[in-house]
Symmetry: C2
């Protein structure tokens, strides 16, 4: 059997574990905002799009959070999903006495801090919890074993950096940059092709794991259809980190070669790119696409953090692992200090560019 054989082929970009200053646990407010914003849409999806036959016939409903990280957002999201199911059962007289048990699978890369996740599980939670290690770009669960799959602020991570952008002999070589938004079309195309390959793996694995009629909810940050990559807020934020690394290279703190060979495995997609991937895959119907505004964001839908130090910590919690691995631990403080200063010098970064988070609801078609 080939179960999970691709798992270790995937690169892992875990959020920083533990409870420290730069931990994901302490720096996950923007992800929480996306979770909150998706709350009502998830309730509606379960109320309107989840097949009644499954509700009738299931003694257990199986839910998975893919890319769950270490909490606490994952617990809020799961609580919301279960409350929505319970409410659906309670609203319909013929279902009222049939409320099933719930099993929740919290999944993330093997390098995720599952020990912290497990010790943080809520007391008296209304479900049986399990942790599942591995990459969601491969199979993680048995066939037709899941009823509701949720993934929030996770599928923007690529399974790996596209190889061409690190190849000096390729037209897609991304010299002097760590991100693609201001790069040549070749670099952008390499990132986009990587996204398409990854999405096909993601959707094919889910198509096998989700029961016919089951739902797949994707919440992710990206850009609007028609917005050029260079105008995306998320991309600007990451590109800015690249300029800090180049500053360190000019000072001789890191080598320029090191910066050239470092690229961030994130792609800021449009909702339409996810829709197109679902259509190519063919196993899912696209039930709903919605922009979601981050709670606390202004009319431009910028991120909810507007304090330079807090913002630098937020970016550090997500990027520290990758940077440490490539450049070594010793550059972390100076790099993120440089980053903080650049933001302080240019506070309009919080308002510039266009940020978008969106919600996509897919339903597993009852065909192969």
């Amino acid at each position: 059997m080939a179960a999970e054989e691709t798992k270790e082929m995937q690169e892992a970009y875990p959020m920083k574990g533990g409870n420290g200053l730069y931990s994901y646990t302490k720096n996950s407010k923007p992800q929480r905002a996306a979770t909150d914003a998706a709350k009502e849409l998830i309730k509606m999806a379960i109320e309107e799009n989840f097949d009644k036959e499954i509700l009738f016939s299931s003694k257990t409903l199986s839910i998975a959070d893919l890319g769950c990280s270490v909490g606490p957002n994952t617990f809020f999201a799961v609580q919301n999903i279960i409350e929505a199911f319970e409410s659906r059962y309670q609203k319909h007289q013929e279902l009222n006495s049939r409320i099933p048990e719930f099993q929740v699978f919290f999944s993330d890369h093997t390098s995720n801090d599952f020990n912290l996740l497990f010790t943080s599980l809520p007391q008296n939670k209304p479900y049986y919890a399990a942790g599942v290690p591995g990459s969601f770009y491969g199979r993680l669960f048995p066939k037709a074993s899941l009823h509701f799959v949720y993934t929030s602020v996770a599928i923007h991570f690529r399974s790996e950096v596209p190889k061409e952008v690190m190849n000096k002999n390729s037209p897609a070589w991304n010299k002097g940059r760590i991100y693609y938004i201001y790069s040549s079309d070749e670099v952008v195309r390499a990132y986009k092709a990587q996204f398409d390959r990854d999405m096909e793996k993601f959707l094919q694995a889910r198509a096998e794991e989700i029961v016919y009629g089951g739902l797949l909810v994707i919440v992710v940050g990206g850009i609007s259809h028609g917005t050029h990559h260079s105008q995306g807020h998320g991309g600007m934020i990451l590109d800015l980190l690249g300029t800090c690394l180049m500053d360190l290279a000019k000072k001789g703190i890191v080598s320029e070669d090191k910066v050239d060979s470092f690229n961030i495995p994130i792609y800021h997609m449009t909702p339409q790119e996810v829709e197109a991937a679902a259509e190519r895959n063919g196993c899912f119907s696209v039930e709903r696409i919605e922009d979601i505004h981050h709670v606390g964001s202004d009319e431009n839908n910028s991120l909810s953090i507007t304090n330079a130090q807090e913002f630098a910590s937020y970016i550090r919690s997500g990027m520290e692992g990758q940077i440490k691995k490539h450049f070594g631990e010793e550059i972390l403080d100076v790099l993120f200090d440089t980053y903080k200063k650049k933001i302080e010098d240019n506070p309009s970064i919080f308002k510039s560019g266009k940020a978008l988070a969106f919600f996509i609801l897919l339903k597993r078609k009852a065909i192969n």
Copy 2:
């Protein structure tokens, strides 16, 4: 819902995590011997006692290892179980094309080192893996969701020390000892009553979780029916640690009160006591009870380690957590050094007393 609500009420006695000198990973040879010895019996159980109807109707077979610790024994055991199922499918023409997928739940206390467990998972394993944190003296899984449950060298741990043995005003107060085998009948009865309460919780939870016709395999060390507790090898080994603690008390390194209030939450049962618990519970038929000889043991069936240092490390890997919690980390080295010397002075400990590991096969009856 009351799912897992009892979880945090249970005391956890985890094996020492990590890869260090006294880690369970490096000190689990005797447990491996029990796993090896049970191998053929598990194969036979799957061949002869597992319901054909389940084999026909299941697209996924769900297996759980309860008290899995951190490996590597759990992986050998699970591999053996899956090979036995595959062999059963292959032997029968009508089943040959129906080999299902396997999902394996590795379960242990929340304090178990799941991070180590997950990073140690075998490459190309023929199953989907999940970790489930919590005490097996409560519910861990949805109703009727498991087909085969295995627990090895785990149910000798009590969910807590019986309260009476720590109560100065009780006739069951266990003064000057940390174990019950040389204590008054009141102390022995308190341990036995705790075992009976725990077994009822264990069996009731499993009765709910295992499908009708599913199997529950228990492998555990204990004593033979008719052997007095004071003659059990396992008990002698633990009592000896108590005499070392009393030696430290005499030297003023620990207080005698501290030793009085420390008791080891282990009960060395007979196979007949498990059988009686199953009969009281009523949901399982007892299909088989076998003594299993530890691989590498001599004709007296003593443990396979006969080197004092190795033996002290083995005991330390299992006991360090509890002792550290009660007495503090600083006594560990001197305590286990004293222990090692006592064994060196009395090498017959390896041959004295009666050690027994046994295998019990229970089958979930198709009634409630």
